[in-house]
Amino acid sequence: MSADKLVDYDEVLTRYEPLIGLETHVELGTASKMFCGCSTVFGAEPNTQTCPVCLGLPGALPVANEAAIEATIRIGLALGCRIATWCRFARKNYFYPDIPKGFQTSQYDEPLCTAGHLDVEVDGETYRVEIERVHLEEDTGKNLHVGGATGRIHGADHSLVDYNRAGIPLVEIVTRPIPGAGAKAPEVARAYVTELREIVKTLGVSDVKMEQGSLRCDVNLSLAPVGGLEWGTRTETKNVNSLRSVERSVRYEMRRQAAVLDDGLRIVQETRHFHEDTGSTSSGRSKEEATDYRYFPEPDLVPLAPDEEWVAKLAATLPELPAARRVRLSEEWGLSATEMAWLLNAGALDLVGDTVAAGAPPADARKWWLGELARRANDAGVELPELAVTPGQVAELVGLVAAGTINDQLARQVLDGVLAGEGDPAAVVESRGLAVMGESDELVAAVDAAIAGAPDVVAKVQGGKVQALGALVGAVMKTTRGKADAATVKRMLEERLL
């Protein structure tokens, strides 16, 4: 759908310097909504998790959710922010059907957390991302446009609104503009969101599922001529709903903006939408006539004044954060920085960690998750954690191999069974009869049959070409459908032929 002119990526960097900034929204996993007692469970029938407060009925009043305030402070602390000793909610006024009150209860010039930072690593380089603010607000409802081809409002017959999401606590984390990323800007943006997601997940305050919208990203980007003193006009790309999209949207906007500037035109300050299918962005509403949100302190809520002792206690009880954990695990598992990076990129760190915790040696755990399991996830087009196998089951599998009950080849068949829902590895070994064969009658018969069936090979072996034994081993493995132990078979052949 895009007819945008694009400049080749490497060429962009010869003339322009990118400046990125990210606004990330995290839906908190509190049991109830921000200002009422309604449930926050995802996926319920539309408008079943609503009440007078989150529907904005006349007369209804908000009461702030303390668990959400606590979660926001913990995020702020994990990002090294200063926690306000006194702050207020503010009303952000604008008309749209998905905001039931005609304003969103948010925070304006008095956010709960300010002035933090997050270090992210890309290709061995560390980039410091300054955090401007972390504030708490409420989510909007969801509009569903019915009857159009695109699911957007244009061309739709009518629109429906679901207020189940309205009022779910939402934490907004805003970075300061990130300079100096240069050609790595797309990767830095991605690494930042990845790291932020890990932190929030570690804190246990949100499930941070980008595909369900519990973590959402707006990407700001502007270009300045190399060596120029002033930053250019920025665009804000919304709807960036996967880590890969964060990277792609930065890349696309860099190429598009460079083409606009090359033509001597100016960048329009606007909201743009990212399209997963094409990897392109398109113009949304223009901010030329910026909306005046008429912020003012929310008179229906009392100011927030987090008690210093409470904040100190929250700081003292933060869990081990991902960066520290990676350092520790690298040491414990004896990994190089590159190996750790592979684990992270594959999203396998927690899986490997849990597998190790379940008793598997780190090297085996890594081997399975990064090898066979990564391959299967890729074939199935899913993320690793979505595979129907648990770290406990992988540890069990590793244990069965180590005990000699199965070999690697059998283990892959066991995995088939586990993924097919046939139960834990030991059960699959049992039900599918996949245990390694001992020197049973069946195996003796198979060995004898192999010798009898290939006199030419036997002659070669006995003539001194011991490598030819491999063909006989292969034949035995074939008749036993992999259940035999190759070393045992080889020994048995040697005993008979040499």
Partner: protein, 538 residues
């Protein structure tokens, strides 16, 4: 002047069947009793159904003229009353007593419009805390009373539905915005009623109809379920014929509510007992400050002579009861009106944004040819009346980028100054401290219907005396202090935050002394006044 009260020809209900419940001295008809008298009647064997029917009869007979109610459901009211009777609850606490609610109070299953077309037909799925508490106490809802649209006004003429007349003189306004409640109680169409006060909407109509009306300390009565006008100012409170009745109603609705974050979590002061003690009439040891800026020397412009005379007499009466009286200056009070008319409209512009036609109430122009913005705009264009639009525009402007500091910001500073003036009066350590501040409740008596509808500034001036207490969040009561030109005048008593009991004590002392001196208590004869007026006109 002749007393209009205690005339045996009172009831237009005619036969007086349900009206007559056990003679209690001169007040032999239900609808001229105080609530404490009604309580006694219930204990003596009258039923809630008797009382309820008496008021419903009066409503049926007189509300066509008076225009006090927007919604009355006699059947449900009588059913509720019968249930209270059947449960044997009538006469315990407030059980069995009828009550009227201003239509700004959300009531489950009962139409609630806040006086606006934009909410026509809306049936709320929940009860305001005030409504729930009254329901829980076993009171019987007579109906929902008329009001200025979204409580914006001082005469009830901004109602989208009907004109409400002052029972003392049907050609006069009943005050506002709680004018339906004031007319209902003053006219004998309800024994008492709930009003709400943002800048004076309880006190001003109470004063203009000869009632007691109290605006509680901000945060001491739950706002949950009051359709918001200005969140930082709105408070619900009682409107009644006597100070004691008002205190009883206040006690029933007040106290902490976890559903309202701005609700103060401290126990309510003892109110009814303070009223009873006050009625004994001894005010020795009490210091009363007369606010110079509210009708005093150099600040009397716009105040009627009769009002100032009644006020002076009332102050003298307080002094005769033992109070020490001195003049107090509160310079920032002069700025209350402009500050109020920035803060209240600003908050209103945001509070009223939810009325967009999407979820409930009126929706205009949704015929498939118009887009969302047009439907919202048409809905608001047709759903809101001119005064509401005026304030939305005013508030939107005051909050807009570039003007915020100059308007909303400045107004908030004035608000702080007004609070300081109150603190200086109530807390100063140098011996100039006062226990309460007093002023006339309104600069004038009830003005003629239509007199100020085309002059918003003149209309706004009706709240001149009541605004400071609203902006500072302190409690204030209006208590009748005589007549001027045959129309009631009110005295306002302001106290420090959470000291609502002081308002009741002083008001009760004044009330008792006046009753003794005056020989009558209140108007309950709408029909005679109406007849006189008609005769006069002819």
């Amino acid at each position: 002047m002749s007393s209009p009260v205690n005339d045996a020809r009172a009831s237009s209900a005619g036969d007086g069947g349900a009206e007559r419940v056990r003679s209690r001295g001169e007040d032999s008809t239900v609808t001229s009793m105080t609530v404490t008298e009604l309580q006694a009647a219930l204990k003596d064997g009258a039923t809630s159904v008797d009382l309820t029917r008496a008021y419903l009869d009066r409503i049926a007979a007189d509300d066509g003229t008076l225009g006090a109610y927007l919604h009355v459901d006699p059947e449900t009211a009588l059913e509720t009353a019968a249930a209270v009777d059947a449960a044997g609850r009538a006469g315990t606490g407030l059980a069995g007593l009828p009550v009227a609610l201003k239509d700004v109070v959300v009531t489950e299953g009962v139409p609630t419009t806040s006086g606006s077309k934009i909410l026509q037909g809306w049936l709320p799925p929940y009860d305001a805390t005030v409504a729930a508490r009254l329901k829980g106490a076993g009171t019987v809802l007579l109906g929902k009373t008329n009001m200025d649209e979204f409580a914006m006004g001082s005469s009830t003429e901004n109602s989208a539905y009907r004109v409400t007349r002052n029972p003392w003189n049907p050609e006069r306004i009943p005050g506002g915005s709680s004018g339906g409640s004031s007319a209902a109680v003053a006219g004998g169409l309800a024994p008492w009623a709930i009003g709400t006060d943002t800048g004076g909407s309880i006190r001003q109509p109470a004063a203009l109809t000869g009632l007691v009306g109290h605006k509680p300390t901000y945060g001491s009565v739950s706002r949950y379920g009051l359709i918001a006008f200005s969140s930082s100012l709105d408070q619900a409170g009682p409107m009644a014929r006597t100070v004691l009745d008002a205190a009883l109603l206040h006690e029933a609705i007040g106290g902490h509510d976890p559903l309202d974050s701005t609700s103060i979590d401290v126990p309510l002061p003892v109110l009814a007992e303070s009223a009873r003690r006050g009625a004994a009439g001894d005010l020795s040891g009490l210091t009363v400050g007369v606010v110079r800026e509210l009708g005093g020397d150099g600040h009397a412009e716009g105040y009627e002579t009769g009002v100032l005379a009644r006020f002076a007499e009332a102050v003298a009466l307080l002094e005769s009861l033992g109070a020490e009286v001195r003049e107090v200056s509160c310079p920032a009070f002069d700025l209350a009106l402009p500050a109020y008319y920035l803060i209240a409209p600003s908050e209103a512009s945001s509070n009223l944004a939810r009325f967009d036609g999407v979820r409930y109430g009126l929706r205009v122009g949704d015929d498939g040819t118009r887009d969302l913005d047009e439907v919202m705009a048409l809905t608001r264009e047709q759903g809101f009346g001119p005064e509401v639009k005026r304030r939305i525009i005013l508030g939107t402007y005051a909050l807009s980028s570039g003007y915020y500091e100059a308007y909303y910001g400045q107004a908030q500073k004035v608000r702080t100054l007004i609070s300081r003036d109150f603190n200086a009066a109530f807390d100063s350590a140098d011996g100039s401290r006062v226990d309460v501040l007093v002023s006339p409740t309104t600069p004038t008596v009830a003005f003629p219907l239509g007199a100020r509808v085309d002059d918003p500034i003149a209309m706004y001036a009706a709240d001149l005396c009541t605004l400071p207490a609203s902006l500072a969040g302190v409690p204030a009561i209006s208590v009748p202090c005589g007549l001027s030109d045959g129309l009631p005048v009110g005295l306002q008593i302001m106290a420090p935050a959470l000291a609502d009991d002081r308002c009741y004590r002083v008001a009760a002392a004044l009330e008792a002394a006046q009753d003794a001196a005056r020989g009558f208590r209140f108007l309950d004869q709408l029909t005679r006044r109406t007849a006189d007026a008609t005769e006069g006109a002819a």
